[in-house]
Structures are given as C-alpha cells and as structure tokens.
C-alpha cells in the first residue's frame, strides 16, 4: 500500500497502480500525480480548452502534462441561453451551462484525433444524477487513449447535479463511491470552492476512492447592470474565474494539503504566469491547471511548460522538489489566519 493511502484514516479503494518509479533525472519536469505519471505539471482546465483540438494552432498538445476535456455528459447538452459570460476586474463570470457534444461524438470524433496528437487526455464528466455519472464513466471505460476521469461535482451553472454533489460531503462520498466502483481508471474529483467546508469535502472524496483532487472550480458570483438593474448573465449567477480568484485558490490548496498530507492535488485558479505555477506547487499541488488564461492567450499552457523547464534547468532542480515547499517551514500562523 502506498504511503498516501493511509492518510484518510480508512481503507481507501483506489485504482490499482504500479509502484511509484523513482524520479528520472533526465525528465526533470515529470511528476507523479497519484497513479498518473505526467510529462510535466501543466494541465489545461476543463471548460477552458474545448476538446483540445481547438488549440492545435497554438499549442503542441503532446507537450502538455495533460488536458481536461469540456465536461462530458451522456447526451449532447445545449447549455444556457446567452448572455453567458461577463467580464469582471481581473477575470470573468461564466454560466455556459455545460454545453457539450456528448460522449458519443467525443468518442467517435474527438478522442481518435487527440490520440493521434499524443495528448494526455483527462475526460471531465458530469450528470444530473448519480446514475448519469456512472453511465458516462462506464461508457468511457474501454475507450483507448484516456489517461484519467475527472468528476465535475462543482459546476455552479446548472439547475441539477453539478455543484449540488460537491456542496455536501455526504453527497460527494456517495457519488464518488459509486463512480469508483465503476472504473479502474485513475479518478480525479474536481471540488467546489463553494462547499461550506472544503476540507470535509476533500476528505469525503478521498475516502470514497478519489485518487487525485482538483481544486478549485469557479466561485459563485454575480454582476448586475447598473442601468437596468438586471443580472448581466441570463442564468443570474455565474462562476468567477481568472487572476481575481488566485489568492483564494492558493489558500484552499494550502489548506487541503495541510489537512490531508500526501493526497495528490491539482491546483486551479487564475494561473497565467510561471510565478503562479510555482506558487501553487509551493502550496502543495503536484500539478496545476490553466483555465481562463487560455481564452486570453491560447498558447499560455505551452508557454508555461517552456518557462517552467527553463526555470528548473537554470536551478538544476527537478519540479518534484518544488511541491509543498510552503509547508516545510513553520506555517502554522498562515493556517490560523486562513481559518480566523
């Protein structure tokens, strides 16, 4: 049993995994994210990277640590009526509503092309009910060229499902347990920052079988037109993303890393520069996801791989050594501040 499995305090049914290989000095950017070995820690975030294929003019997908697809459902989903986005200082609100092509089209038209491009593909999935998640995950089980499943239990922009699973530790545990039983693939659970207690949700997901936790999804926000006094988004509220949320996300990664040491984390929230990547790694993330910045600068994920490579080469440091640096000193005052 691996060391990190003990941290939840219970016998955790994770996916079967090979013994963790030693870090390869010739591959200083490689990271071991639970059962997943990634070329590097830079992953494109779900909902901001299409199906990857939209970005081939800007990024060599095979150079990325991975990419998370647009949230996939059993059937195609139309999404919310426009307006769907609204800009905010240093970020944006969105209420796209999980528009996607459905797993049938994904498996037939998108995944084969991603495989040809040698992309590390993480299928982000969602549903209205537990049963839908299970059906989608089962349908993906035999697909060739999927590295992992990421469960979206944190979308704030749909009436059913989504964040409702992420906001209650009981609902999280029940859903993750059922999906865990349905797949042998590495299972990533994307948590909601809107949960009343993120550490409780993280523990529930982990103890129910999540191999990796992604944190965080967007923060529920709202913008109102000052003239008309009407919400700027047709859905009313939306999810806030972009540099505006970075300090909140860094705190949450730090907090979960502290509470659940050894649990592999992917940090997400406002990452657009190398310094942001280093900050999330220091906070305890093993890998990071680039989200909203993909809209502003479509080549950003490839640029960050290059910059991280150069940074590590200059310091002769493997990236694995950068993970959790902020926890190695006495940081108790930081944690008190966060909880106060």
């Amino acid at each position: 049993m691996n060391e990190d499995r003990k941290n939840g305090g219970a016998e955790i049914p994770q996916s079967p995994r090979p013994p963790v290989p030693q870090s390869d000095p010739s591959q200083p950017l490689e990271v071991q994210l639970g059962p997943l070995r990634l070329r590097n820690p830079i992953v494109a975030a779900s909902g901001t990277f299409g199906y990857g294929l939209e970005f081939t003019d800007f990024v060599d997908l095979s150079r990325l640590g991975g990419l998370c697809t647009k949230g996939l459902s059993l059937e195609p989903h139309a999404g919310n009526v426009p307006p769907r986005i609204c800009e905010t200082p240093a970020g944006m609100l969105n209420a796209i509503g999980l528009q996607n092509v459905g797993i049938g089209v994904f498996l037939r038209e998108k995944l084969p092309r991603l495989r040809e491009l040698n992309a590390t593909v993480i299928a982000n999935v969602w549903g209205d009910a537990e049963e839908d998640y299970v059906t989608v995950v089962e349908a993906l089980e035999d697909a060739e060229g999927l590295a992992a499943i990421e469960l979206n239990i944190s979308c704030p922009n749909v009436e059913k499902g989504g964040m409702l699973f992420g906001n209650s530790p009981q609902a999280t545990a029940s859903l993750v347990g059922r999906v865990r039983a349905a797949t042998r693939r590495p299972l990533i659970v994307k948590l909601s920052p809107n949960a009343p207690d993120l550490v409780l949700s993280a523990r529930a997901a982990r103890e129910s079988g999540a191999d990796v936790l992604s944190l965080v999804n967007t923060f529920v926000g709202m913008a109102i037109d000052p003239e008309t006094a009407r919400p700027r988004l047709s859905f009313g509220t939306g999810g806030l993303s972009g540099p505006a949320i970075k300090p909140l996300a860094v705190r949450m990664v730090f907090q979960v890393a502290r509470a659940l040491p050894g649990v592999p984390l992917m940090g997400i929230g406002g990452i657009s520069e190398l310094a942001d990547v280093l900050e999330f790694l220091a906070a305890g993330a093993t890998a990071i996801q680039v989200g909203t910045a993909n809209f502003k600068e479509p080549g950003v994920s490839g640029r960050l791989v290059e910059e991280l490579g150069a940074w590590c080469a200059e310091r002769r440091t493997p990236v694995a050594k950068l993970i959790g640096r902020a926890h190695r000193g006495d940081s108790s005052s930081l944690e008190a501040g966060a909880e106060g």
Binding site: R84, I85, M92, Q99, N294, P298
Partner: protein, 225 residues
C-alpha cells in the same frame, strides 16, 4: 481578437471586424467606437505601441453566386459599418454595384460615414431616428421602402440584434439572400469558451465565432433571441 499587453481590465481580448487590410504594406485597419475601458485603451494607444492580435478568425462575407452588373444592398447600424470597407473594395473589383444604408440614433452615430466617401460603388443612404442627418426613421424601414422597388441580388448587414431581427423579416418577405455579420460577446474567438452562442434553427445554438460571425438569417431562431 485585440488586446493590450498586461491589461487586466477588461481581462479578455475583444473581437473586431477587419475594416480593411493591405497585404502589400501589412497594414490592417479596424474601426472602433469608444464605449468602455477596453476601447478607450485602444483609442489612447500611442502610435508605435504594441498590441496583441489573434486572427483572422471565423468566416467571411462571400460574393459567390454574384455576377458583374448585379446590385447588392449593404445595411449598417452605427459602428456596424466597421466590416464594410473591405467588402466594398471586393464588390468594386467584381463590378458589382452596392447601395450603402447607414443608420443610427442621431448624426453623431453616423460620424463613421466619412470613412465611406469614394468607397461605395453605388448610392449612400443615411437615416437617423431623430432626423438630425439623412432620412428620419429606422434605417431598416428606409431600406425596406427602396428594396421593394430595387432589384437587389443580395443583402449584407451588420448592426445590433434588434436591427437584424427587423431585417430578417424584410429579407424573408423579399426573398432576398442575406449575410448578417452577427455580434455576440466573445470570450476567446476560436470556439473554446462557447460564450458567443446565438439560438439556431437546426440546432440549439450556433457558435458565432467559428460558425459565423457571418450567418444567413434563416439559420437564426429570432424568436429565441
């Protein structure tokens, strides 16, 4: 999509139609009306400053099926005239005549008209809602009255959605093939964010940035706008 380096407000790039481009000199022209911090940033950009450009994106107006000697109509609402200098150039080259209908609330909205002097291969018709320039009334109505007695082979249009909705009805009544350059808030410009959707007839939503922005009005579900 245009952006200024280091800018965080507004955060996203902005989509602008290419007004004109000269492959020889490498110059690209945009017609921009200042309405907020993003456009103000462009307005106050000093000559020689750096800007980020991603493009060209999406589809384009097409003259396919038109022949020399035919006549088309071009209808614009205010800054909606922005994509048309290049189209008028192409029409002129192809020997196709074009009447340009430019409308706005008042004379100030029509200040862009000066850009079209000696550009339009046909008549320029101005209309304002308050009558301060050109004919008084909606440009769509001015267009409809003339279109009923003119043999137009095609309608090209760009403006706000209410103008498009009115034009769609008029074009349908005249059985006039049309190309509308639609406007929707775009997050990325290349089909990833799915923000710029427009209700469709054959499917729930058309993605304006990749399936458009030029769309035939019969593909748009106007009643769901």
């Amino acid at each position: 999509m245009l952006d200024l380096p280091g800018r965080v407000r507004p955060y996203l790039r902005r989509a602008y139609s290419v007004a004109d481009a000269d492959p020889e000199s490498g110059e690209v022209e945009f017609l921009v009306r200042t309405i907020g911090p993003g456009t103000a940033g462009l307005e106050h950009l000093a000559a020689g400053s750096e800007a980020w450009l991603l493009g060209p994106l999406g589809n384009r107006f097409t003259l396919d099926g038109l022949s020399a000697g035919e006549r088309v109509a071009v209808v614009a609402g205010g800054i909606g005239a922005a994509p048309f200098p290049l189209l008028f150039k192409a029409l002129t080259r192809a020997g196709i005549a074009a009447d340009f209908y430019l409308g706005g609330r008042n004379a100030r909205d029509l200040s862009i008209a000066s850009r079209f002097e000696r550009v339009v291969p046909g008549e320029v018709v101005l209309a304002t809602e308050d009558g301060s320039a050109g004919e008084k009334g909606f440009v769509t109505e001015v267009f409809r009255r003339r279109a009923e007695r003119t043999r137009y082979a095609r309608l090209f249009a760009c403006g706000p959605m209410p103008m498009f909705a009115a034009l769609a009805t008029i074009a349908a009544a005249l059985a006039l093939p049309s190309q509308f350059s639609t406007e929707a808030a775009m997050g990325c410009g290349f089909g990833a964010c799915l923000a710029c959707v427009i209700p469709g007839v054959d499917k729930p939503f058309l993605i304006s940035c990749t399936e458009g922005p030029i769309l035939p009005p019969e593909k748009i579900a106007w009643e769901r706008l």
